[in-house]
């Protein structure tokens, strides 16, 4: 096997994107150095392997850190969308609960019904707050969102116990969406550095 073929094989230790851009230039540089020096000398191949061992791992670290940055960017977009959705669901929840309150007034509300509707309104306002906090996108905003979402789920569960009827939409808005948002807010992610 020729020396160039051996080096071409060694180049596979580098990430594909790096190889695609600089592989041919590296081959050329290897060929120049191979011609200039006694390529059969152990020292020559020692320096080539040493260079590979020093540079290839750092190239892979750069590739992985850039992938993490890309993932962080995508995650931040998803979080913004989730925040907007939470605000909209919060508004929807407040309007729905107020509608329930109006209906309850007409038919003569029981004490439990009034408490359940009030809790529904508070839960929807908490969901709205959580959405706004997510959109704020700061560390304190994240904490506020976590507390607001947990409190919102708790309110809905209490309201559900006081007034057992709950439609599918109310279930999604009141319980499923805050839990999904809570999981998203708590998902471990690194804040992108500006350096």
């Amino acid at each position: 096997m020729s020396a160039e073929r051996v080096y071409r094989l060694l180049l596979r230790a580098y990430p594909r994107t790096f190889r695609a851009k600089y592989g041919e230039e590296m081959m050329l540089l290897f060929r120049d150095e191979y011609r200039r020096r006694n390529a059969r000398a152990l020292a020559f191949w020692g320096s080539i392997v040493d260079d590979l061992a020093r540079s290839a791992p750092s190239m892979w670290v750069e590739v992985f850190s850039s992938r993490i940055k890309d993932f962080t960017r995508v995650f931040e977009v998803v979080m913004k969308l989730a925040g907007i959705l939470a605000v909209l669901l919060g508004i929807y929840g407040v309007v729905g609960a107020l509608g329930d309150a109006v209906v309850g007034m007409r038919i003569g509300p029981s004490g439990a019904y009034v408490v359940a509707v009030s809790l529904g309104i508070i839960a929807a306002l908490l969901l709205l707050t959580a959405g706004a906090a997510v959109l704020w996108s700061s560390a304190s905003g994240r904490n506020t969102a976590t507390i607001a979402l947990a409190a919102s789920v708790l309110m809905v569960l209490i309201a559900r116990l006081l007034h057992p009827w709950m439609g599918t939409v109310a279930l999604i808005v009141g319980i499923v969406s805050p839990i999904v948002l809570l999981a998203a807010v708590q998902w471990p992610h690194r804040r992108q550095s500006t350096a």
Binding site: Y14, F18, K21, Y22, E25, M26, L28, L29, F30, D32, E33, S47, I48, D50, D51, L52, R54, S55, A56, S58, M59, A195
Partner: protein, 124 residues
């Protein structure tokens, strides 16, 4: 890296430079060079103390290109090395500023070492 983002980086924030990085910038001051010419000049100037293998050299060039310190020049053959077309690299204005700042930093260190008589004094 987009030009807009490049301008936001202050040259001082890139200091101190790694020895190999500074040697590459120093080689590119005044003229564009291809990879092998950079490698040969650095080896000659440092008496082999800084060795740039293909991976180290192109890894450093990649980072310098991304940071906007170096840009690609023309692609042409080097008559001394044959017909193969080679990519030439040259310093950007930003790269020259960074190299100049690093040189001043090193100069200040050498002056301090001289003041403390670490260097420039005949040893017994």
């Amino acid at each position: 890296m987009p030009k807009k983002q490049r301008r936001e980086i202050s040259p001082e924030s890139l200091l101190p430079l790694a020895p190999a990085t500074f040697q590459i910038l120093l080689t590119l001051v005044g003229d564009e060079r291809h990879g092998y010419a950079i490698m040969k000049e650095v080896t000659a100037r440092t008496d082999g103390a800084v060795k740039l293998g293909p991976g180290t050299l192109y890894g450093a060039l990649k980072r310098l290109l991304e940071a906007g310190l170096v840009e690609q020049g023309s692609e042409r053959a080097d008559p001394e090395l044959g017909d193969d077309r080679r990519r030439y690299y040259r310093l950007t204005r930003f790269g020259l500023r960074v190299a100049r700042l690093e040189a001043r930093r090193l100069d200040a260190m050498v002056r301090a070492a001289r003041q403390k008589k670490l260097i420039g004094v005949a040893t017994a």
